[in-house]
């Protein structure tokens, strides 16, 4: 699958003169964004996961899933919501003027971009960190405490080192999302690799530079995949013979963790959704809503189809991987499909058009097959990562037991692995589904005639600088992805 994204880069390997000049700029901006978003997402994601798993405080149960909700908001939509909130005609400024003062707030810069992206991407880290903390044997924490280590020392010395491999794989998803983001950086005028690739390839028609820039990104992704494989390899086996759930520690000032958890939800969900609702009150008519609801059907069908496809492919690949060699490179190999995820969607889109034309040109015109194909290529990494780590957790004795009972590997897949993996597979499916509901550039280029999804509909208004009209579709995107997000939480439990 990942060959698809690479199909662009087969032709040329020469260099262009503007490449070395622009590279430092792109490297600087992209790394600033990456570091910023990673630090903020890690802080929020790990911090809230820790509070929710270890401590007891009011509404803790609800926070478990509410904290994932920001994931349902596309970064670009979050960006326009925040710009809309803080600009001259936004509610903050209106209130300030009403109070007789005014303050120019500029969200459209590096820190603003970090802010709007991290607020909706931290759930990737949160979900990973929480499942890691839950998996962790409760007695390790208790041992450490009874040996005189405070909660925070226990966190630093025991929980973080043990959970890091899982948290890292969540962080990689954040990195990918930042790398492939075009909407926010374009809108905020921040030249990054993505905007650079777009500019070189589409505006300048300069394929070489575009490929070189893509290669730099791909090398970085390769490095991450490598790093990940090292981290995963050094993973220490934890005690697995325990199913006791940690009894939650009461927090002395119980409203403090409540407010800490409320913060990211407030800024990552309540505020943008509030802005959308305000806009939709301003601009939406019943007609717009009815139309958007129709598009919701398209979005859901696409999500279901592609999610299923990705999960099926991931099962096939992970399982054949399991049956064959166990070398680290054979495990990392499918992870190269991450590249499809790290590239800007439009670039992958054109790559996939090329690929489809080469495979079977009729696909493009026969409904949504091209889209399903495209999504599967793009989001394979998301589904595969989950599925594969799920397979890894099943002890190989199960396979041996099954084969000693005369079951062939297919039957044991159906009868043993899949039932055990059901929650993991559901989780993978849901992540892919949410990603697809938010996906834009690929949908734009690959969709059949007269086909709108919620994302394309929201985007058309947003691009036309009519953000209020985009509100109803944006709200429905959030709605459609919130439902699976709610279930995602129940699965982790």
């Amino acid at each position: 699958m990942f060959v698809v994204s690479n199909s662009l880069s087969i032709d040329i390997e020469s260099l262009q003169e503007s490449f070395p000049r622009l590279l430092p700029l792109y490297v600087k901006n992209t790394s600033l964004l990456l570091i910023g978003v990673c630090v903020v997402s890690l802080t929020i994601g790990v911090g809230t996961a820790w509070l929710v798993t270890i401590y007891d405080f009011p509404f803790r149960n609800q926070f478990e899933w509410i904290l994932i909700l920001p994931l349902s908001i596309p970064t670009f939509i979050n960006a326009i919501a925040y710009v809309g909130l803080t600009d001259y005609a936004g509610p903050i400024r209106i209130i300030l003027r009403w109070l007789g003062t005014d303050l120019y707030i500029d969200i459209m810069d590096h820190s603003g971009a970090v802010f709007v992206m991290a607020l909706v991407l931290y759930p990737y880290v949160y979900v990973a960190a929480r499942s890691a903390f839950i998996l962790q044997s409760a007695s390790l924490i208790e041992v450490s405490r009874s040996l005189g280590q405070s909660m925070s020392k226990t966190f630093v010395r025991i929980c973080m080192p043990l959970s890091w491999p899982i948290i890292f794989s969540g962080l990689i998803l954040v990195v990918m999302e930042v790398l492939n983001d075009y909407g926010v950086v374009h809108y905020f005028g921040i030249p990054t690799f993505t905007t650079g690739i777009f500019r070189a390839w589409l505006a300048l028609g300069d394929l070489q530079t575009a490929i070189m820039l893509s290669l730099v990104v791909l090398l970085f992704v390769l490095f991450l995949v490598f790093l990940d494989s090292i981290i995963q390899r050094n993973k220490k086996i934890s005690n697995e013979n325990e199913d006791r759930i940690l009894s939650r520690v009461p927090f002395k000032l119980k409203w403090i963790p409540f407010f800490i958890c409320l913060l990211p939800v407030f800024f990552g969900f309540i505020v943008p959704v509030g802005q959308m609702i305000w806009w939709s009150i301003l601009a939406s008519t019943i007609e717009i809503w009815l139309q958007s609801i129709r598009f919701m059907g398209n979005t859901s069908i696409l999500g279901l189809l592609s999610g299923t496809t990705v999960v099926l492919l991931a099962i096939v690949l992970s399982y054949s991987n399991r049956l064959s060699s166990k070398r680290w490179y054979s495990k990392s190999f499918p992870k190269l499909s991450m590249m499809g995820y790290a590239m800007p969607g439009a670039v992958v889109g054109i790559g996939i058009v090329t690929c489809i034309v080469w495979l079977n040109p009729d696909w493009i015109y026969s409904g949504i097959i091209a889209l399903v194909f495209g999504y599967s290529a793009r989001f394979f990494a998301v589904g595969y990562g989950q599925t594969d780590s799920g397979f890894e957790k099943i002890p190989s004795q199960f396979d041996d037991a099954a084969s000693s009972l005369g079951k062939n590997s297919f039957t044991s897949l159906i009868k043993i692995h899949l039932p055990i993996l059901k929650p993991v597979l559901m989780g993978a499916f849901i992540l892919v589904f949410v990603d697809i509901a938010k996906e834009l550039p690929l949908t734009l280029i690959l969709r059949p005639f007269n086909f709108e999804t919620l994302a394309t509909n929201a985007f058309q208004y947003a691009k036309d600088e009519m953000a209020p009209r985009a509100a109803s579709s944006s709200l429905l995107i959030i709605f459609v992805s919130s439902i699976p997000v709610y279930f995602l939480n129940r699965i982790i439990k």
């Binding site: 810069d109 905020f188 005028g189 505006a203 300048l204 300069d206 899949l418 734009l444 007269n450 600088e465």
Partner: protein
């Protein structure tokens, strides 16, 4: 598992069946690749279907993506018509051999028809100077070129160079001056910027309202939208700025034209021409004028009162757009002068 795979197959069948039906009647169809995604276009194309019985199929995406897709699809492309909001993109499609000349019966003024009839204009917008009515003396404004002057230091607002409007503006400046002058103009603008280039055109006007800068280069269409916004505060922001048409003593103000060109391998060429004629008809043009804050290309039709209020103005010709390599030149200049 079984349920899942059955569901998958069923859905695929439905999807295929659904799209299969659409392809039956051959000549009663029209396939459009368009970068225009406006409500007015949707209403007009519905009207077109009602009047002619021709079903309009639409794919909307960015111009560059659509052109790439046309290129890749080649002869197999189902597209009949390519619509973009920028003449240069249409010319690029023409140069790449993706379009074909077509004879359409329109009342377009000749400047809005491509010389060899490869494409026809549908509407246009002007790229103008919006200024703070309180702080700027109109008599200080004159040309785009003048904005690079030191007197505007720290006052200019403009969006990033990724915008095709800016690329096209700089192309026209290269065309009417030369590369060196254009580059020093861009340098001057960067020097005079009130803030890093960012946001959309509406954001620039709102920034004037916030007193971040005093002068913005914007597209009339967005000013029209702002003045007719659902949000009263946006209307207030829009009212704070005046609109100035630059270069009236010289070559005229810069415009961005939307146009439609029949594709080289159009399966339904006749329908495509009918569509162009329909879109440029007096009736449709009036509809555009009153609904989308764009200027009509049909010489029989007057613009919408919102934009007519800004007055008549002299427009620059579209010669720059014939040199499609200027766009790349412009992008390079932007890079050189550090205009993000």
């Amino acid at each position: 598992m079984k349920v899942l795979s059955n569901l998958l197959i069923a859905l695929l069948l439905v999807a295929c069946a659904g799209s299969g039906n659409e392809k039956t009647s051959e000549s009663k169809e029209l396939n459009i690749y368009s970068t225009r995604h406006y409500e007015a276009d949707r209403i007009l194309s519905e009207k077109f279907t009602q009047e002619t019985g021709i079903k309009v199929n639409l794919v909307k995406a960015g111009a560059d993506e659509l052109i790439s897709r046309l290129e890749i699809e080649g002869e197999k492309s189902p597209a009949d018509l390519l619509i973009t909001v920028d003449a240069m993109k249409l010319n690029r499609a023409k140069e790449k051999g993706l379009l074909q000349p077509a004879e359409a019966n329109t009342s377009n003024s000749p400047r809005f028809i491509e010389d060899e009839k490869y494409w026809y204009g549908i509407t246009y917008r002007a790229r103008v100077i919006a200024y703070d009515k309180d702080d700027v003396d109109v008599s200080d404004l004159s040309t785009y070129e003048d904005l690079a002057d030191e007197k505007w230091a720290g006052k200019i607002l403009i969006r990033s160079s990724g915008s095709s409007y800016n690329q096209s503006l700089l192309s026209s400046i290269i065309h009417s001056n030369d590369r060196e002058k254009a580059k020093s103009w861009a340098e001057g603008i960067v020097r005079n910027m009130a803030r890093e280039p960012k946001g959309g055109d509406r954001d620039q006007i709102k920034a004037i309202a916030s007193d971040v800068g005093e002068v913005a280069i914007v597209n009339t269409y967005y000013v029209g939208l702002l003045l007719n916004s659902e949000n009263e505060e946006e209307v207030q922001a829009g009212k704070k700025v005046g609109i100035y048409f630059p270069n009236q003593a010289g070559r005229g103000g810069h415009i961005n034209i939307s146009g439609a060109g029949v594709t080289k391998y159009a399966p339904n060429k006749e329908n495509a021409i009918k569509f162009i004629e329909f879109m440029t008809s007096d009736e449709s043009q009036k509809f555009y004028a009153s609904n989308s804050y764009e200027y009509p290309v049909n010489s029989n039709v007057a613009p919408d009162p919102t934009i007519a209020e800004w007055g008549e103005f002299k427009i620059d010709n579209l010669d720059y757009a014939k040199q499609t390599d200027l766009n790349q030149e412009a992008v390079k200049i932007f890079e050189e002068v550090g205009w993000n």
